[in-house]
């Protein structure tokens, strides 16, 4: 070491102490800066940072509400929610994912062909979020899984609620079905009350009463970490379930009608004429809505849509058919009311009708000989109504038929209803392009007289018209929902109905005459539905056949199925205080007598039986 004198050491010390003092002051300054900064962060701005810290970690998550239940008028359950079991995996809890998936495949717990697809999905998603491996486990699969649970760590069975329709395909066109929410659905409804996880009504009541059935989602306050993993549940606000619906439908009648329609294409609509409640609502062929609600592959759904029998098509409200002879009682009423026919006058029917300037005759389906109004309805004489049509003219006919609410929507509580057609000159002018086609021909008036030509009506419209006949003029707007049950209070809100009566001015004796004709259809020899029902049954009706294709009647046997006539039947029962007004349409069923009337018989009999029981 270099030797230093005491003096230089003193000098050294002074300089050094100077600098140390300066440094110490600097240290105190820097420390003060830190403290000031900390005071700003932790005291002055603390609230702001506390809020940001909460925003980091708190997530609000909505819980889907449980959907309202649907009952029939007798409290039979038609739509409920059932747990479906699915297989879920949390990837980070599984050690060898490939091996486990392989094992699951071998036990048939997952689809073997989808393993590679699953592997890919697992790789792409968060390792702590559960992934669904199988959306629908059968009872057997649940049992197999339970037996092997110890091998499958990180895999578990979870349940979710899925819409279930206990009566399967019997009510499908009335109830509709539900499915997962599509982007289109979000446009229809208030997206703020949807969590995206629930099922949404896609058709019929499920769709049109969506807001009633849906309810309001609950909220969960979750504590999440930086990767979104839920660490804790802080607060839960339960969901408010959807309200229940009580329908006007009667399961018992629906079942009878549905069974009677087995193997037939068509529709049955039965309305209580006293209040517009729809008791029967059937469109066949039907489908099992459970299959759609529990998730159906796109190909399965496409196959459904492309089925030539159109099972998804709601014939009861959207099927438009020529009403055929079923409009005869209504036209007869118009003729009587306006004085075009005298009920006591008999006119001859030679089996055909000739119009001046028309070379081809208008054929009747039979030679009826001498007929008056009652007989013409009873035997469905075409010639009688050809003549009446020509006398009335198309304008008077169409305006009178409109009073039966034909040609306009019934305003039932379902969307996608069609309004049918009651043709007249103006309608033709508006609906045809070429000038030549726009003018109305008298031949068209003639066939309108037997419900052919341009005229179209839905089964529901005909049922409502039948209700008017049964009620002698008045009817109520048809509806499927009888009451909404408030799930909180249990209070029932009944659907109010609107009475329509355009036919108040009709004389009772005229109603008597057409009722007499319709009773004769069922109960008298030469009646078109005679022999189908029990003798002297308290039923009034009218058959109809509407031509799908104009062919020579003599070659009936060789007509291919899809070109056969549609068979129709309208009717009501019992005669005193009618309880049901019914319309049945069987597509390509041949005449109304052979296809539709037997279905009506079964329903009417059930009504009358229950009437008798009530009477006892």
């Amino acid at each position: 070491m270099v030797f230093k004198s005491i003096i230089t050491q003193k000098e050294d010390q002074n300089i050094f102490l100077n600098r140390i003092l300066f440094s110490s002051l600097l240290i105190l300054l820097l420390a003060s800066i830190i403290f000031i900064r900390l005071i700003f962060l932790q005291i002055y701005d603390s609230d702001q940072y506390k809020l940001r810290s909460l925003n980091n970690t708190i997530r609000m998550q909505s819980i889907p509400p449980s959907r309202g239940l649907i009952f029939d008028r007798n409290n039979d359950i038609l739509a409920e929610n059932r747990p479906v079991f699915q297989l879920e995996m949390i990837p980070e809890q599984v050690q060898q994912i490939d091996k486990i998936l392989d094992q699951l495949g071998r036990l048939n717990l997952i689809n073997k062909n989808k393993i590679s697809e699953l592997t890919e999905r697992i790789e792409k998603s968060y390792q702590f979020k559960s992934i669904t491996l199988n959306t629908k486990l059968s009872e057997k699969q649940i049992a197999i899984f339970a037996n092997n649970r110890n091998i499958f760590k990180g895999i578990d069975i979870k349940s979710r609620l899925v819409r279930y329709y206990p009566k399967a395909d019997m009510f499908s066109h009335a109830l509709g079905y539900v499915g997962s929410i599509s982007s289109k659905d979000y446009l229809r409804f208030d997206s703020s009350i949807y969590t995206g996880k629930e099922q949404i009504g896609k058709t019929s009541i499920e769709r049109d009463y969506e807001t009633t059935l849906h309810g309001y989602p609950g909220k969960e306050k979750l504590l999440v970490n930086v990767r979104g993993r839920v660490m804790d549940r802080l607060d839960t606000e339960p969901f408010q379930p959807g309200n229940n619906l009580i329908l006007t439908l009667d399961s018992h009648l629906q079942e009878i009608a549905y069974n009677a329609m087995q193997g037939k294409k068509g529709a049955v609509v039965g309305i209580d004429p006293t209040n517009g409640e729809v008791l029967i609502f059937i469109s066949t062929p039907s489908y099992d809505p459970n299959k759609i609600s529990q998730g159906m592959s796109i190909s399965e759904y496409k196959a459904f849509q492309n089925n030539k029998n159109k099972p998804l098509f709601n014939r009861a409200i959207a099927g438009q058919y020529p009403p055929g002879s079923t409009i005869k009682p209504m036209l007869a009423l118009g003729g009587l009311d306006m004085g075009y026919i005298n009920p006591d006058n008999f006119i001859p029917c030679e089996g055909h009708y000739l119009l001046p300037n028309y070379s081809r005759p208008f054929n009747d389906w039979a030679r009826h000989g001498s007929v008056n109004t009652v007989r013409a309805i009873q035997a469905s004489c075409d010639v009688y109504f050809y003549e009446l049509a020509v006398d009335m003219g198309i304008e008077k006919m169409s305006s009178f038929l409109s009073k039966f609410n034909l040609g306009k929507k019934t305003l039932i509580d379902l969307g996608s209803e069609k309004k049918g057609i009651i043709p007249n000159r103006e309608w033709k002018k508006n609906n045809f392009k070429s000038k030549q086609n726009q003018s109305w021909y008298q031949g068209e008036t003639v066939i309108t007289g037997i419900g052919q030509g341009y005229m179209l009506a839905t089964p529901l419209q005909l049922a409502m018209a039948t209700a008017m006949i049964a009620n002698r003029g008045s009817a109520f707007r048809p509806h499927l929902v009888r009451a909404i049950e408030n799930i909180k209070t249990g209070e029932l809100t009944y659907t109010s109905t609107e009475e329509i009566n355009n036919l108040q001015h009709i004389k009772q004796e005229h109603w008597d005459i057409i009722h007499q004709g319709m009773v004769a259809v069922v109960n008298e020899r030469r009646g078109t539905a005679y022999g189908i029902f029990q003798p002297n049954v308290s039923v009034a009706g009218k058959t109809g056949s509407s031509q799908v294709f104009s062919i020579d009647k003599s070659s009936t046997k060789e007509i291919p199925e899809e070109l056969k006539d549609h068979g129709l039947f309208i009717g009501f029962a019992p005669l005193e205080k009618p309880k049901i007004a019914l319309t049945i349409i069987v597509e390509n069923g041949g005449g109304g007598r052979v296809s539709a009337a037997p279905v009506a018989e079964k329903i009417m009999q059930a009504i009358l039986n229950s009437e008798r029981q009530d009477g006892v």
Partner: protein, 371 residues
């Protein structure tokens, strides 16, 4: 022999003195180590293994410190040139043969990953102090120039790795010695203005990644999920802690992983979140106590070399604390400096404890020198 209470107390004090241990400093270290274990347990989401590992590192570092404290400052003075030369050589070697992690070539693989730049933290103050102390104060202009070169060369090598943070700290530990040696204020003023005016020239030379850090520091909210994420989450943690803190293991920013690197660079934020301003004020006071005690040791030591290294170690220690805290509260850019004695980490703690061991050595060997 008579053993009265008084005698007993004296003898235990003697024991510590015999092992060259400064009791106030040791107590301060032990408090900080305890805080370290508490904070690491919380920051590692209650991982007891992290605490055990840290305890082992603490034990090892304490051992190193006590060992170093046994040696007289004279020995350090003697080995200073050799240590410095070795470090300098290794810094050259690391640039050629070093292991690259995350784009930085800092490690030499000699069984364990070893950073020569860490060793330079010890070599630098020793070398500069020895060089300055060979003549009386104030040093001549030539001495200053040479001393500055001694500082700049290794600093540049570390900067090339690149490791801006460490290079600045190493430079500081050397420059502080020159400053304490009584360099004329005029020179200091010139150096300072030179530094400021050269900043725009240096700016394009430093690499992209470091420039981004500085820009982020100036406006972290510009890229809240990217470059600004660390500093924003750190400020949220500290600010939301408030005066009293959220309580141990209750800091949501830390417990729910919002705060990154929370056992190392951002452990201060965890402490601030869970123990509040009161908690960290106590911690800062302990640091200031250590610095103050170190300065006292420097003032009381008898020879210039001891004085210079004791002061350099104390002031460097303060700068570590200051840089780390400033970085977590957004006063300085994020440069990756751990919080002394509390952050998790092996090498940096051993290095620091060796330096503090030297401080103890200076503090406890002075009487021997005076005799």
């Amino acid at each position: 022999m008579v053993f009265d209470k008084n005698h007993n107390r004296l003898s235990s004090e003697d024991l510590f003195r015999k092992f060259h241990i400064d009791i106030p400093l040791l107590i301060a270290f032990l408090i900080l180590f305890s805080i370290s274990l508490i904070a690491i347990y919380s920051a590692s989401n209650s991982d007891i293994n992290a605490v055990i590992n840290q305890s082992l590192r603490i034990g090892f570092s304490l051992g190193a410190m006590i060992l170093i404290a046994q040696m007289s400052p004279l020995n350090y003075e003697r080995i200073a040139p050799w240590l410095y030369s070795l470090c300098f050589l290794l810094l050259g070697v690391v640039l050629i043969f070093g292991e690259t992690r995350n784009g930085a070539t800092r490690w030499l693989n000699i069984g364990i990953g070893f950073q020569p730049s860490e060793l330079m933290k010890i070599g630098m103050p020793l070398m500069v102090a020895r060089y300055i102390a060979r003549e009386s104060l104030p040093p001549s202009n030539i001495s200053i120039a040479i001393a500055v070169m001694l500082v700049i060369l290794p600093t540049y090598l570390i900067y090339l790795e690149p490791d801006l943070g460490t290079s600045l700290l190493v430079a500081f530990s050397g420059l502080i010695v020159i400053f304490l040696s009584g360099i004329k204020k005029r020179y200091l003023f010139i150096a300072f203005t030179l530094f400021l005016t050269s900043l725009p020239l240096i700016w394009p030379l430093i690499n992209e990644f470091q420039r981004k850090r500085v820009l982020t520091f100036l406006d972290p909210e510009k890229d809240p999920l990217g470059a600004g994420y660390h500093i924003i989450q750190s400020k949220i943690a500290i600010g939301s802690g408030g005066l009293f803190g959220k309580g141990w293991l209750n800091g949501s920013q830390g417990q729910l992983d919002f705060l990154p690197e929370r056992t190392t660079d951002f452990i201060f934020s965890i402490l601030a979140e869970e123990f509040g301003l009161i908690g960290i004020a106590i911690i800062i006071c302990i640091y200031l106590f250590i610095v103050g005690r170190g300065i006292l040791i420097a003032i009381n030591s008898q020879d210039l070399f001891s004085r210079l290294i004791a002061a350099s170690i104390s002031l460097t220690f303060f700068i570590y604390v200051f840089v780390n805290i400033s970085m977590t509260i957004g006063l300085l850019p994020v440069v990756g400096v751990p919080l002394p004695l509390i952050s998790r980490g092996g090498t940096s703690m051993v290095t620091l404890m060796i330096l503090l061991g030297m401080l103890m050595s200076v503090g406890t060997h002075k009487r021997l020198v005076s005799k």
